[in-house]
């Protein structure tokens, strides 16, 4: 972040006081952050900064984020286990090697997207599963991009 120059600072503080944006994404630093830059001394601040909210870590774009439950071991080598919860962000652009949820044979499936040299495939991360190759004229529907997997180690 650009450090505002001294002449900028008062103006930017006034701006913040007058116009807090209710839709601005929360971007608090963990625990004690910059005392001045954080500005606006709201009573809620103390409260919020006493613990870390996992939503801030796991959910970048709330309305586009969905949770799904993994069934099976096809992605085991990617650290995704049976019963894990996937955090899927549909607003993220899938790229080569993204872990994606895709629609295959009318079912939701989690696989690694391989998209290079003109080929598009879905790879399991488990040698027991063959890659899924698209047939001629077949369209791949990407449901969303997996951004986190939540695993219970108990």
């Amino acid at each position: 972040m650009n450090e505002p120059s001294d002449s900028d600072r008062p103006a930017s503080v006034v701006h913040w006081l007058a116009w807090p944006d209710p839709h601005a994404p929360e971007a608090r630093s963990p625990l004690y952050g910059h005392a001045i830059a954080a500005g606006f001394p709201s009573p809620a601040d103390d409260y919020v900064e006493t613990w870390l909210d996992l939503n801030q870590l796991l959910v970048r774009n709330r309305p586009a984020t969905f949770f799904l439950r993994v069934q099976g071991d096809s992605m085991i080598a990617a650290g995704i286990h049976d019963g894990d919860i996937l955090v899927v962000d549909r607003s993220v652009e899938p790229v080569h090697r993204s872990v994606v949820v895709a629609v295959v044979d009318s079912e939701l499936t989690v696989k690694r997207l391989i998209r290079e040299h003109g080929r598009i495939e879905l790879h399991a991360e488990n040698p027991r599963y063959a890659p899924i190759r698209l047939r001629e004229g077949q369209e791949l529907v990407i449901w969303g991009v997996v951004v986190h997997a939540i695993h219970n180690v108990e």
Binding site: P63, A64, L68, R69, V70, I85, R90, S91, S106, V110
Partner: protein, 424 residues
């Protein structure tokens, strides 16, 4: 400068919501049934093409459904309410003023935003499709009534790819379009008014638009005059008016002064909900969706503005004051933000249906509010000590047989950890 209003409408919302987590439903005729699996409340395009009418009792459709492989789903208000909240949150990114008209419709004020409105419409469509997997239609015009009509056109004419901007249309084309639409498609023209209009030789939207408004206030009433003026592009309805949509109970009030604290808002919401629940029972209905909204003063332009709204779907329809108040309070706690001066708050009960017989009896308005409240409190205390559901209202059913009548309800994919969609 004339206004630019958009109406965004999710196509076949309940069916589209069901399809999001179950791709097997794509391309198949799908219907969603009312709470007790009574009748059809939503249809996919394929189901419409089979001639299945809205409101048709399911038992009469079974043979047809079997022949054509129609899939019937029980309504899942938890899922619909969550997806509706997401749609509204995304739409708020496109315009400074938003008026949520129903669970699947939202007006946006695009006036003076710079970008070509049709382009905004296309971006809205793309974003909702990608982020939420839901198809929407966008109608754009200079009044709310025209925007709704434009959305109607956007939905039905495939060539428009879901966006119709009356403002970008040549006059001749627009006239031909309005001449081809029945007057009863216009927002606010009900069956009775439509019949009256036909008697006066007014059949199409274009004819309705051309009606003389002089003397109308005495004759056919203010409502018709407003409709005609709106069709001419004069905005008579304002986005911040609470329009009275179909089949809802609204209880809201502007505060005498600004309210900043959560506790005061909680008190207000509780009393509004108590009133709404009372009205709900007095008309013998139960509700499936609770909406809560807050608003700062839009006229204080220099003050920070916050006008959030949230829908919560109930697991089962209810007219129980305590349950409804608890639900509304959960909502207001989510919505409230420190540092804003709220000027208005309210609750909306929707997805109403007639209550069962026992319910109507238990809640028959005997005027003994106090003893009933006491009864509910006692019941809650016992449940808190002995475990939820130890004592239940007769309205919930001693034998939960009614539950089986929601035979095909999909999981609460987005609101219960145990019911997340499975992915292999």
């Amino acid at each position: 400068m004339s206004a630019t209003i958009a109406l965004v409408d999710v196509n076949n919302f309940y069916v589209s919501a069901e399809r999001l987590f179950d791709p097997r439903l794509d391309g198949r005729p799908v219907v969603v049934l009312s709470n007790n699996d009574g009748c059809v409340v939503a249809r996919s395009q394929e189901a419409k093409a089979l001639g299945i009418p809205m409101g048709e009792p399911w038992f009469r459709l079974r043979a047809l459904a079997h022949r054509h492989g129609v899939v019937a789903r029980s309504s899942n208000y938890a899922l619909y309410a969550d997806l509706s909240n997401r749609v509204m949150e995304v739409l708020a990114q496109f315009a400074p003023v938003q008026d949520i008209y129903s669970i699947d419709e939202c007006f946006l004020d695009l006036t003076g935003l710079g970008e070509a409105p049709a382009e905004t419409g296309r971006r809205i469509r793309q974003r909702i499709a990608r982020w939420l997997g839901l198809p929407v239609s966008v109608g754009i015009a200079s009044s709310m009534t025209l925007a709704k009509l434009a959305a109607h056109v956007a939905k039905r004419q495939p060539g428009r790819e879901g966006v119709c901007d009356f403002g970008a249309m040549a006059q001749a084309e627009w006239q031909a379009l309005l001449q081809g639409i029945d007057a009863d498609e216009v927002w606010g023209v009900g069956p009775r008014l439509a019949a009256g209009l036909r008697e006066r030789g007014v059949h199409t939207v274009w004819q309705l638009r051309a009606m003389r408004t002089e003397g109308m206030r005495q004759g056919s009433g203010v409502a018709l005059e407003r409709i005609v003026r709106e069709l001419r592009g004069e905005a008579c309805f304002c986005l911040t008016d609470v329009v009275a949509p179909r089949q809802q109970i609204i209880s809201s009030r502007s505060f005498g002064r600004e309210v900043t604290g959560l506790d005061e808002l909680e008190q207000a919401i509780s009393s509004y909900m108590a009133r709404a629940a009372h009205k709900l029972r007095s008309q013998g209905s139960v509700a499936s969706t609770v909406q809560v909204f807050l608003r700062t003063d839009p006229h204080r332009v220099r003050a920070p503005q916050h006008a959030p709204s949230m829908r919560i779907g109930l697991l089962r329809p209810s007219a129980d004051t305590l349950l409804l108040v608890r639900t509304a309070l959960a909502g207001v706690r989510q919505l409230w933000r420190a540092g804003f001066a709220y000027r208005k708050a309210g609750v909306v009960l929707s997805d109403l249906q007639p209550a069962g017989q026992t319910q109507a009896d238990l809640f028959a308005d005997t005027g003994r509010e106090a003893s009933r409240a006491q009864l509910m409190q006692t019941l809650d205390r016992i449940n808190a000590r002995m475990g939820s559901g130890t004592l239940r209202l007769a309205s919930e059913g001693i034998d939960p047989a009614w539950r089986m009548r929601r035979g095909n309800v999909s999981p609460a994919y987005t609101t219960r950890w145990e019911e997340l969609a499975r992915v292999r």
